[in-house]
Symmetry: C2
Subunit: 555 residues, 2 copies
Amino acid sequence: MRTKQVEKIRVFSLGGVGEIGKNMYVVEIDDDIFVIDAGVMFPEDEMLGIDKVIPDITYLVERQERIKAIFLTHGHEEHIGAIAYVLKKITAPVYGTKLTLGLAEEKLREHGVTSSAPFVEIRSDSEVVFEKAKVTFFRTIHSIPDSVGISIHTSQGAIVYTSDFKFDQTPYGMNRVDLGKMARIGEQGVLCLLSDSTNAEKPGYTGSDTLVAQEIADVVYNAEGRVIVACYASNITRIQQVLHAAKASGRKVAIVGKSMHKVMDIAVRLGYLYLPDKLTISIHDIERYEDRELLILTTGGHGEPMGALARMAKQAHKQINIKEGDTVIVAASVMPGYELLFSKTIDALYRAGANVVYGQRKVHVSGHGCQEELKLMLNLMKPKYFIPVHGEYRMQKAHANLAKAVGISEERTFLIDKGDVIEFRNGQARSGGKVPYGNILIDGLGIGDVGNIVLRDRRLLSQDGILIVVVTLSKEAKKIIAGPEIISRGFVYVRESETLLDEATKMVTNIVNQCMQDYIIEWSSLKLNIREALNQFLFEKTKRKPMILPIIMEI
Amino acid sequence: MRTKQVEKIRVFSLGGVGEIGKNMYVVEIDDDIFVIDAGVMFPEDEMLGIDKVIPDITYLVERQERIKAIFLTHGHEEHIGAIAYVLKKITAPVYGTKLTLGLAEEKLREHGVTSSAPFVEIRSDSEVVFEKAKVTFFRTIHSIPDSVGISIHTSQGAIVYTSDFKFDQTPYGMNRVDLGKMARIGEQGVLCLLSDSTNAEKPGYTGSDTLVAQEIADVVYNAEGRVIVACYASNITRIQQVLHAAKASGRKVAIVGKSMHKVMDIAVRLGYLYLPDKLTISIHDIERYEDRELLILTTGGHGEPMGALARMAKQAHKQINIKEGDTVIVAASVMPGYELLFSKTIDALYRAGANVVYGQRKVHVSGHGCQEELKLMLNLMKPKYFIPVHGEYRMQKAHANLAKAVGISEERTFLIDKGDVIEFRNGQARSGGKVPYGNILIDGLGIGDVGNIVLRDRRLLSQDGILIVVVTLSKEAKKIIAGPEIISRGFVYVRESETLLDEATKMVTNIVNQCMQDYIIEWSSLKLNIREALNQFLFEKTKRKPMILPIIMEI
């Protein structure tokens, strides 16, 4: 290696392990910090009211001056969705392929963030040379073009991050895999491999996108009425297949959904999506065409397809609704935690009279490789150490088992959690402690101002509602001036529970009077008394535990 | 037929179509009403804070005197779970097999309901003769013994309800299917078949329980540490397999979970579960045994297995926690809407060091038949008309497609929703209007006192929390006596949002003063003003919409 001798390499994840989403990996080479990816995650069920989640980057912010580069591997939300938030706090050069940078720039525009960080376009054959490392890339196949894996070459060997990949031997469109280059990297010596665990529990191979293209073309060609296709806005491969299918069957394409428009505009402008002339029409012009001349391509608010479809099925979409005779193609798999929305939506589509094409026919395949592909990657890279990333813990675990099967012993595989540091010295790995990490919740304009207490309150409120007790007191006169008034929301039907609430009101009156007689004039103890008495009373009567909020006004 | 000539038959569902759960079907023969099953449903995601859901039986309550019988087909919650609620309002004889009635009686005990309704035990060869119908039964194979289908023979032909079934050619234990009897019913003439749609989307056959028994025995035998098996309390077939596996491998069985104890006690007492001598031990005695001598059989609160496992994995269970070296067998499939809990629990088990056996090995199969089995039932029964029941709409639809494939035309298949009546006269079916139906939500002790408004409030509260504005006024003096005070819960961190809340407080003060100057003394319009102003202000500042609750106290 021509690169300088390196004493210590530290590798850890600030997001993307123990979860699907918000990928962010950090490689520290002596004092130099390299950040790979900056993704968002969609909130889990229990994160009530939260719009999205990003990694806590306090560790990076405090070490700004040491950050040499941010690498983005491809243009999906879980890899670039947090870039605007990151560049608000950090200024470092951002490296990515043309399409990836195009989509990342759009993120900055959306968030109104201006950054002085240079955006450096790379190709898969680029080499970026730093003082202590040379960084190269290799093309991978994923559901978006211009995806790359990254290899950070150091004097101890290479740290390789595959990012999202599959091995499709008959890929669709411009995607081509750099098998030779991967093998070469493996031959040169990989110190540590970080590889995609998404489908590590699934045996065999992920199906080919070329077959999906044929299947979609077949369904579109044979549909008698309108065709509505729903997919993720960022699945450019799928979108291209749909455009070709429409063209081949003589249908015009109307696009619904802001995020779909945005992504397509960028992909067409940069040459990653071929949009045949006069193929698209405005959604407002669909009335001018026969049903069998139409294909509607749609996605939802976050580029997630089911929300919009659900509205269309319930005749509640602003622009287009499902009618008898429509064929709906759901060219997407269900996001974890969204299974119920998915099945409810399929149901609603059927009820609206549509012919729904989803799981039964292969109109979608995953962008991530299954077990045989993961083993192939491991065999190509032949890493000395292995860190399964990009997945829930059980997927990382399943990936570790695959590694064991191809000969990477358990001692050389690290099942890391966020913040866990693996440290390399003289080519030997060991645990290197922990760095701070966390979730930053985004709710509306607030970044991180919703934390555990607020979420706990939302959770409590969502279960049995709230009961508010207001009373105005005169401390001097030692008497109640107004109230107590009891108001509830989300607890019981007030009309049917008058007796219950009357009794509760009397109870509070007694407590307040008693307290004032006893000279308990600490509002906090008065509130505590009210809360405890009501808690017990209401639980006995209803077996429910609303949040109880006593408010004491003093004049 | 020796039964009396019948003019009109009406068939409808009060629960169980368009959903999985709360099965209740009604067959009206002229003036006589026959009710089949009385199930509960577990709440869906959006039913915040709700414990369970039962069918609205207003229609039945208003026609009490016409109800001749309530038939229970088997002892699962979705078929008998609402029986206590039903018998509180209706008195009619309840027919069921021994185990089914045993479990139904336990439901009454649990709810402290005493009913004068007679419980009439039937066997699969029983005949119950009513004025205008003769009712017979046929044994089916399901995951609980003593399951039957029901055939109501009338002068127009038979109305047959299969209830839950599969055709296992090598069933486990005492389950045997009445193939001959089903064929005979078909030969005699089925006017209308109501059949189980649960797995109508799944091709092929459901696997055999005998293979599952072997697989479980194999896993238990080869486990080196403790074995923890989680399954539904009501899956008596599975429990029997586990007991045999424990016996065969020389392990003692400790049972965890009230509902598991209850169901097992009843099943053993009535002779449906064979519990070898000295096999079970108390959970408190497990310390006396080596890990490899132990098998722990568990289920959760509602007989649902994942909740308890999740607590065990997080070391938060009262009686037993997962440790390194445990083998956990999840012998259950995931309930719709519980996918995230399922995958999070598997994850937590792995993290706790357990070897987890679930989807990869066949330690569980469905109790419901797949497409080939559903077609076999259709071919045995050869119904003139067909109503797919027990399933979401898309499953009913898939079942209708299967019926079409075996020769039952679309015109003879009815995709009904709850309350839709199919009416038969002279052996001809037609739509017969609609009867009232609905969901009754159960929250704590409240039955039906949580409705749409309360749920809507819980939903609102769960999204952005609540902001309460209290102000005490003197109408006479036209001035504010105390407040305004603003309190929020689940909205923002108060400490970080002082400025925001201060501004809001000032705003309210101005509005109140303004209103009093303008002689607006209608509290409702004052409240409206406050709500609108705050709504707009907070949305601009935070892009959130908390519930805003102005409270005006007057002295």
